[in-house]
């Protein structure tokens, strides 16, 4: 896969500076976390990366013509389609029926909801629906998975379990992931590297590539607190 990075991204809305000189590298088959407070412009950054926002200054390299899977804050499942058919809907133009069938089975097994394949979303818990949404993104098999605070609506128990499972699944599937969150614990639990964003105007405050270091949580917290003092 080509190198994926963004360089010196600047974005303003009506003279309000939102993103300031943001540069990020996304490593292949790794989970890159973008950690920042709510409303700091994380979604704007994702929209620039995915090409939804086009009027910005800076470089976005390697994302053109990439197949991107998205895991949203909400599950975004079609209520009148079963889990199987929800996933099949996004695969129809990419794979033949045999491949679709195999992939859906494989990833529903990986995400632990194979038994709920023919259930409608209304019969599933919030955690299971989000697992179905993750399975949809993995089954699609794009070059890149972008996750925009996907565990925000889950209770703590479901979140911890799904985080643990997700990391294993992504390692098995060898996916490249950009994971956006405001939750330090999520970022530490799931990430291979973390970029900490400041509040507006948003810039990269600090980056960590080794997440095995001791007291990482405290260090991140210190950096966040430092910003408040500043």
């Amino acid at each position: 896969m080509d190198k994926l990075y963004i360089k010196n991204i600047n974005k303003s809305f009506n003279n309000l500076e939102v993103l300031k000189d943001i540069s990020l590298n996304f490593k292949e088959e790794e989970i890159t976390c973008i950690l920042g407070p709510s409303g700091c412009g994380k979604s704007t950054l994702l929209n620039i990366i995915t090409g939804i926002i086009t009027d910005y200054n800076g470089e976005v390299v390697g994302f053109n013509n990439k197949e991107i899977s998205f895991i949203f804050q909400e599950d975004r499942l079609v209520p009148w389609l079963t889990v199987y058919d929800n996933i099949r809907l996004v695969l129809k133009d990419k794979y033949n029926e045999d491949q679709i069938h195999k992939r859906i089975h494989e990833y529903l097994y990986l995400t632990g909801i194979e038994d709920y394949m023919y259930y409608y979303p209304s019969s599933l818990s919030g955690g299971m629906k989000q697992r179905a949404s993750i399975a949809r993104a993995l089954t699609f098999g794009g070059d890149l998975i972008i996750m925009d605070e996907p565990f925000k609506s889950l209770d703590i128990k479901s979140k911890l379990q799904i985080l643990k499972d997700f990391k294993e699944i992504v390692q098995t599937a060898k996916s490249t992931v950009i994971f956006v969150t405001h939750d330090i614990d999520e970022a530490i639990e799931i990430g291979d590297s973390i970029y900490l964003l400041s509040d507006k105007p948003t810039y990269i405050k600090k980056a960590w590539n080794n997440l095995d270091q001791e007291n990482l949580r405290n260090e991140i917290l210190m950096n966040i607190m430092q910003e408040s003092v500043d």
Partner: protein, 261 residues
Amino acid sequence: MKGFTLNKNKLLGFILIIIIWTISYYFIGNSVILPSPIETAIAFKEIISSQNFAITIFTSLNRLIVSFLIALFLALIFGIISALNQWFYDLISPLVALFKIVPTMAIVILALIWLTNRRAPILIAVIIVFPILYEAVIKGIRDIDRNIINMTKVYKVQQKDIVRYIYIPNIINNIGAILSSTMGLCLKIIIGGEVLGQPLNSIGTSIQTEKMYLNTAGVLAWIGVLLILSLLINLASKVIICISKAIRKGLKDGQAIHKEY
């Protein structure tokens, strides 16, 4: 047990109506104003055993089905275009508003001037039912969660699949929810139009004829027939909804063994 209690209550309600009716009959003491339940039952038996009964029912039901299908067809065409194009929506909104506010009797009179008495009830029903179905179609398209539509764009789902798997099922759900009540309304309007237009062999004309001969028992017996017809229409609506769901499941290429939600 709950179902049994419910049916028992319904039966009690029905018996209560008969008791109040019988007491009122003895209190009024005039069969022209209020016939007894027995007189009405005899009239009912005469009506359903008459030679013209089947053709009368068939003619009125035929008008009901034709008018409903025309209204549905127009609602689908205009509703889909309106939901996707604001300019078109604004363009026809005065016409739809006009259909909604003009009193039924005014529409009946105009329809009888413009058309033959056989066709006038159909036009009346179409004009009254069309706005209800039209709004259901628009709602079916516009009410879909924008997040789901954005999700299909992110995954580059083809437009034909978005229509087939997302828009059409939601339109069917919306129309299914009002199918029974709209068909019931359509039947009422058709009968009303027939009462005034008096086309040959129709329920409305039969009611009007009974009224002309001051045969109130006959009028009530026809109301009984209409009641049974309404129940059958209600049942038919449920069957149509079930069939449409089955067809939709079939449309999914039979890949999955679907469980009901």
